[in-house]
Symmetry: C2
């Protein structure tokens, strides 16, 4: 069998993991996935993920690819891998990808959803799955603040330093503030996200609701590029990678 | 301060608990609640719950009451108790109850919801919160089967032996099979439930979907009272106590 490039769609509850990226001393999603895939394929598997997620951050739709000469058909692969995985990580689908497909480099855009459990009293079912914020949030102010991030800007003011990047310019395609059934959901889609950018923007929307900055301050804040002017980085348990876009067959699999 | 009878509305994720009822060797919801309330009130608190839930069973709305001479106002009590509780148990509301109110004896009816994650591939976010059932379920058959349980019957055929009870006759007011956003929900309301009755009925609905019995067999099966004729007891993680009804002030608090 020739070397295949296999792309996976997966979901995970990030509560028990030190993020996606392999780290020597910690249990990570990538490390757990690689162990299961290596066992299944009978050789060491190296996974490429569509991005790093921090400790405690979740993924509803995550894409990763790996090379293997395994003979397992793509449509059987999810069942085979899942039987070797803990229940907080699931492979939902698999497909053959083009030789040059790369989960991070081929990614066209991503959407993160930040969930806030906004009620006076916390809820046991949302404890690791949303940010508990007890004061009433001003959705109209948050919507105005979110609009200010849409477009092509330098996002240096809403990232944490730590990961190298050629440029801090990104394009935000949309940033919606929606009332879900139990949570307030902040959905933001961009061609790429800087380190902690989704959480820093969520923190800035909350800051705006608290009156600590005005939505109209955001363009100037982005222009100055000073992290101290924006809101704090919102906690990880509210963040979900919710969609990832690609061309071709992988794009089809990811949108199912 | 006189002796007060205080009723609480609480929610819990039962995953980490050996059910509601205090047991010497295990961590239970009642035991955890009593420890927190005793610390708060400065005396040993004995809680009366509205019913036993098994290990792994959840409660969206549970009612419990206790006697205390604590001076903490009822509307402050949830915040005070929650600060002493783990995050998988939350007190949502508290109210003064009549002297003779008793969470189990005063209960008029209860509703349990059984959630089934019915998809070919499991989901990390439902792992401890629904029963994962990979084959397509026949909702029309399950609805017909559910209808057969409605009314006043002897439910001995759908209980586990273990708890003593004067009579095994109960009245089921409704039993609805609904397609939720991500799960299939079986909502059953009765004036009381025998031990494991909600789970045995859920198992019987699934049995009907599998063609292992016909909905029309259910009346005869109830009449015979033979546990072996009904379906198996469905696993605990799908079960939620979803509503509890009372008269008066406690009823008002429970319906908020």
């Amino acid at each position: 069998m020739n070397r295949r490039n296999i792309a996976l769609r997966l979901s995970y509850d990030g509560t028990c993991y030190h993020g996606w990226q392999v780290q020597k001393k910690y249990v990570t999603v990538c490390g757990t996935m690689e162990a299961a895939l290596s066992r299944l394929c009978g050789h060491t598997v190296k996974l490429t993920g569509c991005g790093r997620t921090d400790a405690g951050v979740h993924a509803e739709r995550y894409c990763a690819n790996f090379f293997s000469n395994t003979g397992i058909p793509a449509d059987r692969l999810p069942y085979a891998v899942n039987s070797l995985l803990p229940e907080d990580i699931c492979v939902k689908a698999a497909t053959e990808a083009e030789e040059d497909f790369n989960a991070i480099l081929s990614c066209e855009k991503k959407e993160y959803t930040y969930r806030i459990y906004n009620s006076r009293i916390r809820d046991p079912f949302w404890r690791d799955r949303a940010y508990f914020y007890p004061s009433p949030l001003k959705l109209d102010v948050m919507k105005r603040a979110a609009e200010m991030f849409v477009g092509t800007h330098d996002f240096a003011a809403v990232r944490s330093v730590g990961t190298e990047t050629k440029t801090t310019v990104r394009t935000v395609f949309w940033y919606e503030v929606e009332e879900g059934e139990r949570t307030i959901n902040l959905r933001v889609c961009a061609d790429g996200f800087l380190y902690n950018m989704a959480r820093a923007m969520a923190g800035t929307l909350i800051y705006a609701s608290e009156g600590k900055l005005s939505p109209e301050d955001i363009p100037g804040l982005l222009e100055k590029g000073d992290r101290r002017l924006a809101g704090p980085t919102a906690p990880p348990q509210g963040l979900y990678l919710s969609r990832v876009w690609y061309g071709g067959k992988v794009g089809e699999m990811m949108s199912l």
